[in-house]
């Protein structure tokens, strides 16, 4: 598209694009959310952007008790990606409810609280505690946690275990708080896991978590990370995330999906929307650019305006309708 055409379209669409997105039955001002674990508790990125401007902030996964996480080194740079084994370091639910949640609410931010546990009971208790606190917009269930009752296998890799957690959380959370399941792509087929979560009552899905990876330092002849394996994130995994969002949207066209994985520009966010995500999470890019969420939102708005789209909801899943491509 040359400059004059873009200018023409921008002039024609002087009315701003309707960016509203739905998180279950909750309406968000726009589809950009900060992904879990990449925006801390919101405070860390607040000095670089207005945290109330974006759709929502997903907190770092909250556990029942304070947890130290894994030893250092925890992070390594890989081609177009980061490999991490932080190990869910966090202050625990008590400190979160006392300190972090009130701060986020005082800034007018919508809060997606990510929760993590070692067994079904812990997840359910966390959901109960969050339901008692005012101001939680939605709960995102981080299923990439070792199941203490199943030799430490991750919940997200077993459809039945994932379903049990979601059923327990849905049963404990207040009826008006949407519950989202965050799934891992480290499975042969993501659709059965998604299906188990939807049957268990999930209001939506968040796709995808990091992919397990490993790097070795050839000089020391040892794994680089103290935790040996780590989760790979960043633009390196974006095609995997797009594929997962596509497959899940194909199976559940009406289901709200938060697409996460290597989004670093408005163009990337658009890709997720077209694949079927109704919201887009920004993760590793926040490490690279602390104001990334605001920038991606601005870029997405400009892209949509240039395309002549009136409502962002109109283009969700448009790539599936292969013969009805806009423009």
């Amino acid at each position: 598209m040359d400059v004059t055409t873009t200018g023409f379209l921008l002039r024609r669409h002087r009315v701003p694009v309707d960016m509203r997105a739905r998180l279950g039955h909750v309406e968000l001002p726009n589809p950009i959310v900060a992904a879990a674990g990449c925006a801390g508790a919101g405070r860390e990125i607040a000095q670089f952007m207005d945290v109330a401007r974006i759709g929502a902030i997903t907190t770092k996964s909250i556990m029942a008790e304070p947890f130290t996480g894994n030893p250092a080194p925890r992070l390594a740079e890989t081609p177009s990606g980061l490999l991490n084994s932080i190990g869910l370091q966090g202050p625990g639910i008590d400190a979160f409810l006392q300190r972090d949640l009130p701060w986020l609410l005082s800034r007018g931010t919508r809060v997606l609280v990510s929760i993590a546990g070692h067994n079904v009971r812990e997840y359910a208790e966390l959901a109960t505690r969050l339901s008692d606190a005012a101001g939680v917009t939605a709960i995102e269930v981080n299923l990439s946690c070792p199941n203490a009752e199943d030799a430490g296998h991750l919940f997200a890799l077993d459809a039945a275990a994932a379903g049990r957690v979601i059923a327990a959380v849905r049963g404990s959370a207040r009826y008006d708080i949407p519950v989202f399941a965050k799934l891992s792509a480290d499975v042969t087929d993501i659709v059965p896991v998604a299906s188990a979560c939807v049957s268990a009552g999930a209001d939506g899905l968040s796709l995808i978590n990091t992919l397990m990876g490993m790097i070795i330092d050839p000089v020391r002849m040892r794994p680089v990370l103290a935790g040996m394996y780590g989760g790979l994130s960043g633009p390196a995994i974006r095609p995997v995330a797009i594929r997962c969002v596509w497959q899940v949207h194909e199976a559940f066209p009406e289901l709200p999906v938060i697409g996460v994985g290597g989004v670093s520009s408005g163009h990337d966010a658009l890709e997720f929307l077209l694949a079927g995500a109704s919201m887009v999470g920004i993760g590793t890019e926040i490490v690279h650019d602390p104001s990334a969420c605001a920038r991606v939102l601005r870029e997405l708005e400009e892209e949509l305006a240039a395309m002549g789209v009136d409502r962002v909801a109109d283009i969700v899943g448009q790539a599936h309708a292969s013969r009805r491509i806009p423009r």
Binding site: G69, P71, L82, Q98, Y229, G231, E285, V287, P290
Partner: protein, 317 residues
């Protein structure tokens, strides 16, 4: 966020990069750092590189200079920048060096290009009427940064190199006790690798001299979101926490960092795998440290010393 490169010059084995960034220069206090993105707009290197600020100057509205060694792909890219190139920089970040209220005799210890942030600190200390002595070290003569400036501005300068090519042969800690006695040091500021900071803190502890140590831990974000740069640090309430050196540091009190446990999770840290919530009183939020359980008071946590960090406690979170 965007600065324009003014100069990149070689300083012995290191490089010094100066860029125009008035917003950083005006807010900077000694000890703080900047993070820069490397590799340009379409870079495949996602981690930011953190560098202690060496100096800020008022020309061009405000310039910032940092010193680095071109050792990896990212720093080699930085060393290839030329005047008028654009640099994506964020700062100033981190907690600065606290300065004494009354005029004191201060010893500034720097190893390698770690001494870079000490010269801005020295200027600030002299403004406060403090006397400044330098103790600098490095592997070789060309890896001792700023010896000339230190000789010109400090009351005394002691240099040690590992190979003896400049000053005395040996680690900086070799002559530390001698220097402390000779110049009657009251406060130590140190910026060096972790093993050196450990030895400095230990020796200073014997003389009951407070140490302000700036750690050089690899960081990926510099803003506190990535949780990659953690250290075990004991709080003033006696409880060890795993803290981020980017937002809680990079300057720490030397006696509060558990230097021997850096790179591990001490069993008695708050929330360590040996932590037994059913036996311990529930810790309150950080705002209320008085109600926290005491670090050594809980036998349940002491027993956990033999518990290895099992694979089931590790997440890819």
């Amino acid at each position: 966020m965007r600065g324009t490169v003014l100069t990149v010059r070689r300083v012995d084995a290191y490089h010094a990069l100066t860029f125009v960034a008035p917003a950083i220069a005006t807010r900077f206090r000694p000890g703080q750092f900047v993070t820069v993105a490397v590799g340009g707009q379409t870079s495949s290197m996602l981690g930011r590189r953190a560098f202690a600020v060496h100096d800020v100057r008022p020309d061009h509205g405000g310039t910032v200079e940092f010193v680095f060694e071109a050792s990896g792909a990212g720093t080699k890219w930085l060393s290839s920048l030329r005047a008028r190139d654009v640099l994506d920089a964020v700062g100033p970040l981190g907690r600065p060096f606290p300065v004494p209220r009354d005029p004191s005799s201060c010893l500034l210890i720097g190893v390698g290009y770690g001494s870079a942030p000490l010269f801005a600190l020295a200027a600030r200390l002299r403004e406060r009427g403090c006397t400044v002595d330098f103790l600098l070290g490095g592997a070789t003569a060309d890896r001792v940064f700023g010896a000339l400036t230190a000789r010109r501005t400090g009351r005394s300068l002691t240099v040690l190199t590992t190979d003896g090519s400049l000053g005395t042969r040996g680690p900086v800690t070799l002559l530390l006790e001698q220097v402390i006695r000779e110049v009657r040091t009251e406060v130590i500021y140190a910026c060096a690798p972790v093993p050196v900071l450990r030895d400095v803190s230990m020796i200073a502890g014997r003389y009951e001299i407070p140490v302000q140590a700036a750690v050089d831990v690899p960081m990926a974000c510099g803003t506190g979101v990535c949780m990659g740069c953690v250290l075990p640090v004991t709080g003033t309430d006696g409880i060890t926490r795993i803290v981020r050196s980017c937002v809680d540091g990079p300057v720490f009190r030397g006696d509060l960092v558990r230097w021997d446990d850096v790179g591990t999770i001490p069993f008695d840290a708050l929330g360590a795998p040996g932590w037994n919530p059913s036996r311990a009183p529930r810790p309150e939020a950080q705002a209320n440290p008085a109600q926290r359980p005491q670090a050594q008071a809980n036998p349940a946590r002491s027993r956990a010393v033999s518990t290895p960090l099992g694979s089931e406690t590790r997440h890819a979170g």
